[in-house]
């Protein structure tokens, strides 16, 4: 190939790849400081982006009411009314009013909450909580009871005392699941959707081309080959021009 043709090819490749190179450099540079910028914990509130990723919002698996407050489960997350609790939880089994606030039971935990839904403490088998918990109940004194298999356990989460009772008090009120009201569902789902995609995820997917699916990955591959060819033709042209 003549040097002039090579120069034209080099320029055209440069023009085509310039934008991609800028995009890759910029995203790469930002990702380099991902930890410092806490990009993995900054979320993008965009339903359009959630749809673009093809993420289907899950359905509520359980919801319980106690003293006008509702605890609902969406996948492994819990929402006290519309506020998300920190952490992940297995299947929710019930919510009960206690003398200190609320107690919720997952299949293997007792989750103690304040009146405002702040977590006081999460207790599990390591602290003597029996499992698998099927149901949660409380009596008029705010004492907690757990149904585990065919046994009824009385639970005192303060002193970590858990013991089987032979006869359950007649005044026990078992926590019963109920449907989440539509307005609350929409509110929680909106917050949930806003906590799915981090800036790190988006930048990584732009950087790798995955934001456009397989086609994007191929496009980035083609660009990588183009960058290589540009470097090769550039060196070749430079070496030919040397006196």
């Amino acid at each position: 190939m003549k040097q002039r043709s090579l120069l034209i090819l080099h320029r055209r490749m440069g023009l085509i790849s310039a934008l991609f190179l800028m995009l890759l450099s910029l995203t790469g540079l930002i990702l380099h400081y991902s930890v410092g910028l806490r990009l993995d914990s900054r979320f993008i509130d965009s339903r359009a982006l959630v749809n673009w990723y093809g993420i289907e919002l899950p359905e509520f698996s359980a919801s319980f009411v106690a003293a006008d407050s509702r605890l609902s489960q969406l996948e492994n997350r819990l929402f006290f009314d519309s506020t998300a609790l920190p952490g992940n939880y297995p299947s929710l089994r019930g919510l009960a009013r206690t003398d200190f606030g609320f107690a919720a039971a997952s299949s293997n935990q007792l989750i103690l909450l304040t009146d405002n839904g702040e977590i006081v403490e999460v207790l599990d088998a390591d602290y003597g909580v029996p499992a698998p918990i099927e149901r949660l109940a409380s009596n008029t004194d705010g004492e907690l009871y757990l149904e585990v298999g065919s046994d009824i356990w009385q639970a005192d989460p303060d002193s970590l005392q858990f013991q089987i009772v032979t006869t359950a008090p007649a005044t026990l009120v078992w926590s019963e699941a109920s449907a989440v009201p539509d307005s609350l569902q929409q509110q929680i789902l909106a917050d949930y959707a806003a906590s799915l995609i981090t800036w790190e995820r988006l930048l990584l997917d732009i950087h790798s081309g995955r934001i456009l699916g397989n086609l994007g990955v191929i496009l980035v591959d083609v660009m990588a080959i183009l960058f290589f060819l540009m470097a090769a033709t550039g060196i070749w042209i430079w070496s030919r021009r040397r006196p």
Binding site: D40, P86, G87, L112, T114, E118, I119, V120, E121, V122, D126, Y127, D158, S159, L160
Partner: protein, 169 residues
């Protein structure tokens, strides 16, 4: 500095080492700490000044309002979960007087940073206490690639020393 180098060198020489899924049950841990008879647990609330200090030390709001501990004389054992990068690390700390007697990783759930489970790292905490600025009175050498886990353990030690101080006063 040379200690940090040695730590890095040691780790680079054992690339085949992988994170083990060892899990120490709190009950077993406490039984070892108190040599058989575990005292009844007590709790301290993270409210008011304690909560503000805990937030400052951890760098985020604590996910809980109450911390459980077991005390016998001047010795107290604390078990606290703290996020490393994405998953909670369950850390046990024994305080004697105003000094850390030992730290232990009871459960490590992250895919990286498990090197904090090694004795050579944990031994650095033996005897540390809290300086007036609520930092440890001794530098803890980090581990390359385990910065967040090291931070978690350091911060939990600071928090426990603070809380142990608050219950003793």
């Amino acid at each position: 500095m040379h200690k940090a180098f040695l730590i890095t060198l040691t780790l680079s020489l054992i690339p085949w080492a992988v994170a083990s899924d060892d899990h120490i049950a709190p009950e077993d841990y406490l039984r070892r700490v108190f040599e058989g008879t575990v005292p009844a647990s007590d709790t301290v609330w993270l409210t008011g000044e304690n909560r503000e200090a805990a937030e400052r030390i951890l760098g985020h709001k604590p996910d809980y309002l109450r911390v459980r501990y077991w005390q016998e004389g001047q010795r107290s054992a604390w078990i606290i979960d703290e996020i490393g990068k994405t998953e909670p690390i369950t850390i046990g700390v024994v305080v004697n007087g105003n000094q850390v007697e030992e730290v232990e990783v009871l459960a490590f759930r992250e895919s990286r940073g498990w090197e904090i489970k090694h004795d050579f790292f944990k031994r650095q905490f033996d005897g540390v206490s809290l300086a007036s600025n609520q930092r440890l009175d001794r530098n803890i050498d980090g581990i390359s690639g385990a910065t967040l886990s090291v931070n978690a353990m350091t911060n939990v030690s600071r928090l426990v020393l603070l809380l142990a101080g608050s219950i003793s006063s």
